[in-house]
């Protein structure tokens, strides 16, 4: 049990893990992530990779929407830019995957900056729809710029490779995706310990007074767009390496909504929330299927009548969670933690 | 005299966690002006909100006690019904409808008249513009662009339109120029006198509110700590020191320049 946490130095006070219990739990988590691929079957491994990619993308969107307050419906488009960049590089150059991923991120960031330009004037839902416009436009480019994107049929690419080692299985991809996800979440965490992150939050809370306090709005909004789409681009690049094919239909509007939902259901402006949200949105439909599996032995027709039911349940879960806890899963998690950290001394 | 509003020993809790009022009672007689004073965070606004039923919007709840307006428990009435039965709450911070024009703000207030027989509306608009000519100049302008003082006038103007039996005013002088404070209080007094409207006044400006009110309550930490007729309160030593800024034995006004940091103790806390 922890009661107080008086710190001797500011340095200790500014650290991420401020207690040894926290360090312990975090090490345990890392250990689990490390042994997971050795124990999991193909299906769980696949889901693990999918959650990893989703965590990266959600964290990116969280930076923009959750922390900077700029709602974006363009996430799928930015991921597409990353995905196509990786695919094109894989087909046309022999670059090793870290370089290709970096370029995918940078390319997406550049597009992100372009899309972010109106954000100084256009706000709220109007901005959200402007980003949607951008993603429609990107989709159009993916579909029509055939010499580069392969048109509607898309591009197939080689597996990721580095120094002659190829990552053609999920098992190997896991060791790219998950460490990268951990690293990128930490990088995001760092941003919010420093002036840049504070500036983002200030813009979210009250942009005009932020400006008067010395924050260059355009610069920081663009920075947030760039950072967020960099994350999306990397996630899209991983997506491309993972499925080894990209088509315009790989990055539909529904995907943007999926990530927005992950951020909101997880908890906006909360990195942990983003992670929980990404896992929730990816895994819940899979978990719900267990329900069908459980019924099938008794009703052979269960898959048919259960599939609309699952859609209803999934929607109801989102609605229910938000009504019950509008601040998202992160808040539920905090409440549980508070309960246990005070336990057995409750007040 | 019969009480128009009676607050009986209420307790209020926010978010099911923070208790703000701890057994507060007060009465507003028909047609009277009653002042409620207290430091920041004492719970003055909370008291008003628990009367007008707006507490629910902020996740607050009256957990004990009872509030009666005209003899009926306010809990039994929806907030808008309460307004229509003659209780008007002018909220802290003016709360004008920023993206409506001045005139539309006044129109919105006419909803308080639903189900009541009232004199012609155009007369009441004229009455408002009469009291506040500046609003007339700006009638087509969005309320959000009014200066602070103008917004306060508009907030009072809306109360006038509603022709209530009781107006609860939450810090009407906040951010107003001295002349305007005087003007607004004069108008408040006039409304009280001419229309017989009772007024429950929450204020930081103790001097003026005790001047206008016939009775005063002072609260700290969610409870009434002292009450009495306005004259009596004005004479009270603690009230003079902490609310009126008249210090020491000489009864001289203290200068802000001479304040030193030292913790003074209020007698009612002992």
């Amino acid at each position: 049990m922890r009661i107080g946490d008086a710190k001797q130095t500011y340095q200790a006070d500014e650290a991420i893990w401020t207690s040894s219990t926290q360090k312990f739990w975090f090490s345990l988590l890392l250990l689990i992530l490390l042994v997971f691929p050795f124990l999991a079957n193909a299906y769980l491994l696949y889901l693990g990779c999918l959650v990893g990619i989703a965590v990266i993308s959600t964290t990116g969107l969280n930076i923009l929407t959750g922390f900077t307050g700029l709602i974006s419906l363009g996430q799928a488009g930015f991921m597409g830019v990353g995905g196509y960049t990786v695919a094109w590089l894989s087909l046309n150059t022999g670059l090793p995957f870290p370089v290709a991923l970096l370029l995918a991120g940078l390319m997406a960031a550049a597009v992100g900056i372009l899309v972010g330009l109106p954000s100084l004037r256009v706000k709220g839902l109007y901005l959200a729809i402007a980003t949607l416009a951008a993603s429609v436009f990107l989709h159009f480019i993916f579909a029509e710029w055939e010499p580069v994107t392969g048109g509607m049929a898309g591009l197939s690419l080689e597996p990721a490779h580095l120094f002659g080692f190829t990552f053609q299985s999920d098992f190997r991809m896991y060791f790219i995706i998950v460490p990268l996800a951990v690293l990128m979440v930490f990088a995001a965490r760092n941003v919010f310990r420093t002036r840049v992150g504070r500036a983002f939050i200030a813009i979210r809370d009250r942009d005009i007074s932020a400006e008067i306090l010395g924050i260059n709005l355009l610069r920081y909004k663009l920075m947030s767009f760039a950072l967020s789409s960099f994350y999306a681009g990397v996630a899209g690049g991983l997506f491309a390496y993972f499925y080894r094919v990209v088509t315009p239909e790989s990055f539909p509007l529904a995907m943007s909504i999926f990530y927005l939902a992950a951020v909101i259901v997880g908890g906006m402006g909360n990195l942990l929330g983003g992670i929980l949200g990404a896992a929730f949105m990816t895994l819940v439909p899979e978990i719900l299927k267990l329900l069908t599996a459980a019924l099938t032995p008794f009703y052979p027709n269960a898959p048919v009548f259960m599939s609309p039911m699952l859609e209803i349940i999934f929607g109801a879960l989102i609605v229910g969670f938000l009504i019950f806890e509008p601040h998202g899963l992160a808040e539920i998690w905090h409440r549980i933690r508070r309960f246990f950290s005070l336990w057995p001394f409750r007040n | 005299m019969e009480a128009l509003l009676e607050i009986d020993n209420i307790e209020v809790v926010y978010n099911k966690a923070v208790q703000v009022l701890r057994g507060l009672s007060l009465r507003v007689p028909r047609g009277a002006i009653v002042a409620l004073l207290g430091s920041n965070g004492a719970g003055k606004s909370t008291t008003l909100k628990s009367v007008s039923g707006l507490l629910a919007l902020e996740d607050g709840e009256v957990t004990a006690g009872e509030v009666r307006f005209n003899g009926t428990n306010v809990k039994t009435l929806a907030p808008e019904k309460l307004v229509r039965s003659g209780l008007f709450h002018v909220m802290e911070g003016r709360r004008v409808f920023e993206d409506l024009t001045v005139e539309e703000n006044l129109i919105a207030a006419t909803y308080a008249l639903s189900g009541r027989k009232t004199p012609a509306l155009s007369d009441s608009y004229e009455l408002v513009y009469d009291y506040f000519p500046r609003l007339k100049e700006r009638r087509k302008q969005l309320a959000g662009y009014l200066s602070g003082g103008e917004q306060q006038m508009l907030a009072l103007g809306r109360a006038l339109i509603a022709q209530p039996q009781l107006i609860m005013l939450d810090e009407p002088s906040l951010g107003l120029a001295p002349l305007l404070v005087e003007e607004i209080f004069t108008i408040v007094a006039r409304i009280n006198r001419e229309q017989g409207t009772a007024i429950l006044l929450v204020e930081q400006n103790a001097a003026v509110s005790l001047a206008i009110a016939s009775y005063g309550y002072i609260m700290e930490n969610g409870k009434i700590v002292i009450d009495g007729p306005a004259d009596k309160l004005t004479a009270n030593e603690d009230v003079r020191e902490f609310y009126l800024g008249v210090g020491g034995a000489e009864g001289e006004a203290r200068s802000y320049r001479d304040i030193k940091h030292y913790k003074r103790r209020k007698r009612w806390l002992s």
């Binding site: 929407t65 109106p118 004037r121 256009v122 709220g124 839902l125 109007y126 729809i129 402007a130 949607l132 416009a133 429609v136 159009f140 579909a143 029509e144 005009i208 008067i212 509007l253 927005l260 939902a261 909101i264 906006m268 599939s307 609309p308 699952l310 859609e311 209803i312 349940i313 929607g315 109801a316 879960l317 989102i318 609605v319 938000l322 009504i323 509008p326 | 007008s52 039923g53 707006l54 919007l57 907030p79 808008e80 307004v83 229509r84 008007f88 909220m91 709360r95 409808f97 920023e98 993206d99 409506l100 539309e104 703000n105 129109i107 919105a108 909803y111 639903s114 969005l142 959000g144 509603a162």
Partner: protein
């Protein structure tokens, strides 16, 4: 240039635009009063259209009885959604509420698939089938009559908000709920009515659109075109919904006819982007007040 062809295309576009305007009206109503961006609007339309199918097809009622019944059903659905799922979110951040509406959309799709299966459907024919000629210009009868019905409803709404106190109550409520309560405005009722009447417009539009384009559980994506309309017109402007609806309908159709179907969406979105840069709150939307 073939002016006759251009004229016919434009007319077809404007007629479709009239229906867009009607849907946009449903959206704007709800937004104006409750500040809720209703992403489920397309699904509410869909639901009403399926109700119509059930009444007119399944129960074989006359379409002219089935239509009001289905519209009523859609309106009630709106009211119920407001009461059970939106009201508990009072005071939460708008984007969380948006997400709730997305959840509602998913629920409605599931419900429709459950009761009517995923098969695509056509509504019983109920609009006259004789071609309509406006001068020398041909206009498909369905969209012509759809336009007329839609326009009539739109004008009714517009008149109501121009000339009644109701509009003020709506906007006051949107601007500050607590203050609206303290004015004696019945906020809960305003919210509920906004959803009921918003859904009413959407339901009517849903039946008319489904009558021309067919119906399936994916019908709701039409909501996307409507987002463009309301952003161009201004989220809280009924007049904006009308004008932008006609404009976007026309633009989409003309772009589709002259450039090809794949240009419909990009064309409207490019125009949208341009308009937003020039007018960040759409053509007729109210500017948010920014003061420090």
């Amino acid at each position: 240039m073939d002016w006759l062809f251009f004229g016919e295309i434009s007319l077809a576009g404007l007629a479709m635009g009239g229906l867009y305007a009607l849907i946009a009206l449903g959206f704007v109503m709800i937004y104006k009063a409750t500040r809720v961006i209703n992403f489920a609007i397309g699904e509410i339309m869909m639901f009403a259209a399926y109700l119509f199918l059930a009444f007119a097809g399944g129960m074989e009622l006359s379409p002219w009885i089935a239509m009001p019944l289905a519209v009523l059903g859609g309106s009630i659905l709106g009211g119920v959604i407001e009461k059970t799922m939106i009201r508990p979110m009072l005071g939460e951040s708008p984007i969380s509420v948006v997400m709730v509406t997305i959840g509602i959309a998913s629920i409605l799709v599931g419900v429709v698939e459950f009761f009517w299966t995923a098969d695509p459907q056509l509504l019983p024919q109920f609009l006259p089938r004789e071609p309509v000629f406006i001068g020398p210009l041909y206009l498909a009868p369905k969209i012509a009559y759809g336009f007329l019905i839609g326009a009539a409803v739109l004008v009714l709404y517009l008149l109501y908000f121009r000339f009644s106190r109701g509009g003020v109550a709506l906007r006051a409520t949107a601007s500050d709920q607590a203050a609206a309560y303290s004015m004696g405005i019945n906020v809960r009722r305003v919210f509920n009515l906004a959803w009921v009447f918003g859904s009413l417009a959407a339901s009517l539009a849903g039946i008319l659109v489904a009558a021309t384009g067919g119906l399936s559980p994916q019908f709701g994506i039409i909501g996307l075109s409507v987002l463009v309309v309301v952003i161009v017109g201004g989220l809280d402007s009924i007049l904006g919904a009308l004008i932008a609806g006609l404009f976007i309908g026309w633009l989409e159709t003309v772009a589709g006819a002259y450039l090809g179907g794949e240009y419909r969406m990009p064309a409207t979105f490019v125009v949208l982007a341009v308009i937003l840069v020039i007018r960040p709150y759409g053509l007729f939307g109210t500017h948010e007040i920014e003061r420090v």
